[in-house]
């Protein structure tokens, strides 16, 4: 049935996986690590959970609050990414708008350049932003508008950076969109004055201030005596990004989106970067210690880090232990965007004594999946770039009690009668930091312990399968 695959890859899997996707699904603990195919374009017809290149760029740049975000394309591209994340701003709210050139039939035939130029000049005069990002969509790539040239001419007229984002939707996977976003941001890096930046300063890369998480993380570092020059892109300002090359260290959280930017900054400005995560007690503490270790010239930073870890853990841990007794042995499925977040979630669930039955990501790379295989217990299913049918079938087969994912996974979970925890764009509750771990435990407990899951069809009548 599944010819050409090593036997152990599928031996215990009861369900059928599309032929072209077999190499992207494995089960751990059957012999050594198996290489998982990843980083490739989604299989046509599989209805991948991934978004397009444009959406990848849009979500990464979205939280830059004092910039104009103009989507050059048909209105749908702007409508579906309008206010797409719960990224909060402490000041301007310009990012919450989605501006579009609304390309129509006539523009597709005769070109949309004039329309773009007129829209840009009008919007810049109206909103007086500090920079503008112009996103290319599929249509623009096909009709061949010279977005770069328009940006250059408007930049000259308006006197602010007008940056094209080369995110034509058909050009690759969502990951290519992240790369395009990094390249767009990088045009600003190194253009500001860095004389006022203190010696112990870092950049937070890949935190998007969902539900105010950046503020929580910033506060920890501030208490340690480390100043944060820029957060890219959570609650970001153009002026901060311009001077972020003055920081001494980059801490990259969302590895999928921001590693490219970190590597460029390392190459051109000599700023080293470290991968961290702010989810869960272990990873949050490691992130603080990582920064403290880097600034070893001032030992008081490490002392203060230890003090913060002690105080914060003592404050949240008794309540978490209470939930742990209730949640012990429950099974969870995880499907998130970046693999690094998946690591943290596996560890966080372990802290709650829960098992991970299924874990997957949209944009993980080979190293990520190897690490994931080592981290997970035997019998865990690992998937790359999955689709609704696969996820649903695996959830039923493993009989999971909780699904952790984003907006596209929510209906899958609820239709199957599985508790759901949102760990993506739209979450309204901060899940980062120590307080975030407590919020996570509370939310998981509230969802999983609800008696309603005893009344769903798959529990009342186990024969009701897909």
């Amino acid at each position: 049935m599944r010819g050409g695959l090593p036997e152990r890859r599928y031996r215990k899997l009861m369900i059928e996986v599309l032929k072209g996707r077999e190499s992207q699904v494995i089960q751990t603990g059957e012999g050594g690590a198996v290489e998982l195919a990843c980083g490739k374009a989604s299989l046509a017809g599989s209805v991948s959970q991934r978004a397009c290149v444009f959406c990848g760029s849009r979500v990464v740049l979205y939280p830059i609050a004092d910039a104009l975000h103009v989507v050059h394309g048909p209105i749908g591209c702007a409508a579906y990414t309008w206010d797409i994340r719960g990224a909060l701003s402490s000041g301007p709210q310009l990012h919450r708008n989605s501006f579009s050139t609304d390309l129509q039939e006539k523009d597709v035939i005769f070109g949309g350049e004039k329309k773009l130029e007129a829209a840009l000049l009008e919007l810049i005069a109206l909103y007086k932003p500090n920079a503008a990002f112009i996103y290319s969509t599929c249509i623009v790539g096909l009709i061949g508008d010279d977005v770069g040239a328009i940006c250059k001419s408007v930049e000259k007229n308006a006197g602010i950076p007008v940056i094209p984002v080369n995110s034509e939707g058909f050009k690759g996977t969502k990951k290519d969109g992240y790369k395009a976003a990094c390249e767009a941001v990088y045009r600003l890096v190194g253009t500001g004055d860095i004389s006022a930046i203190p010696p112990h300063s870092i950049n937070i890369l890949g935190d998007f201030n969902l539900a105010g998480e950046t503020w929580i993380i910033r506060d920890y570092y501030k208490r340690m005596g480390i100043s944060v020059t820029a957060c890219i892109t959570g609650d970001a300002r153009i002026a901060d990004i311009r001077r972020c090359h003055g920081a001494r260290l980059n801490l990259v959280q969302c590895s999928g989106s921001m590693t490219h930017l970190a590597k460029m900054m390392e190459r051109d400005h000599g700023i080293p970067f470290k991968r961290v995560s702010y989810f869960g007690i272990e990873d949050m503490s490691a992130a603080l210690y990582e920064a403290a270790k880097f600034f070893s010239d001032d030992p008081t930073i490490m002392d203060r880090a230890k003090e913060i870890v002690r105080g914060e853990v003592a404050a949240i841990y008794p309540e978490i232990q209470k939930y742990r007794d209730i949640l012990r042995g429950k099974k969870a499925a995880i499907y998130v965007g970046g693999a690094f977040k998946a690591f943290s979630l596996v560890r966080a669930l372990r802290l709650l004594d829960m098992e991970t039955a299924l874990v997957g990501s949209q944009t993980g790379d080979k190293d990520d999946y190897n690490e994931l295989q080592q981290l997970c217990d035997p019998g865990t299913i690992i998937v790359d770039d999955s689709n609704p049918l696969e996820l649903a079938k695996f959830c039923l087969e493993k009989d999971v009690d909780l699904f952790i994912g984003g907006v596209k996974e929510r209906p899958i979970a609820y239709k199957l009668g599985i508790a759901f925890c949102d760990h993506n764009h739209e979450r309204k509750e901060p899940l980062a930091g120590y307080i975030g771990m407590l919020n996570f435990a509370r939310e998981v407990h509230r969802s999983v312990a609800s008696p309603v899951w005893n009344l769903v069809p798959r529990r009342l009548n186990p024969l009701t399968k897909l």
Partner: protein, 52 residues
């Protein structure tokens, strides 16, 4: 952090550890790589066997 000879091997520290850094034995041992120095074990230990 370290566990000294006062350890009674009761397992309270292992139960209390949020980073799963404590291994059981005649005397329990803290894995320094996994330890986040939060002090949860110190608070849980009935024998005051844990040194910072």
């Amino acid at each position: 952090m370290k566990i000294n000879d006062n350890c009674g091997a009761c397992g309270a520290c292992k139960e209390a550890c949020p980073s799963n850094a404590i291994r059981p034995g005649a005397i329990y041992v803290i894995d320094p790589d996994a330890c986040i120095e939060c002090g949860a074990c110190e608070a849980a230990c009935p024998n005051a066997a844990i040194e910072s």
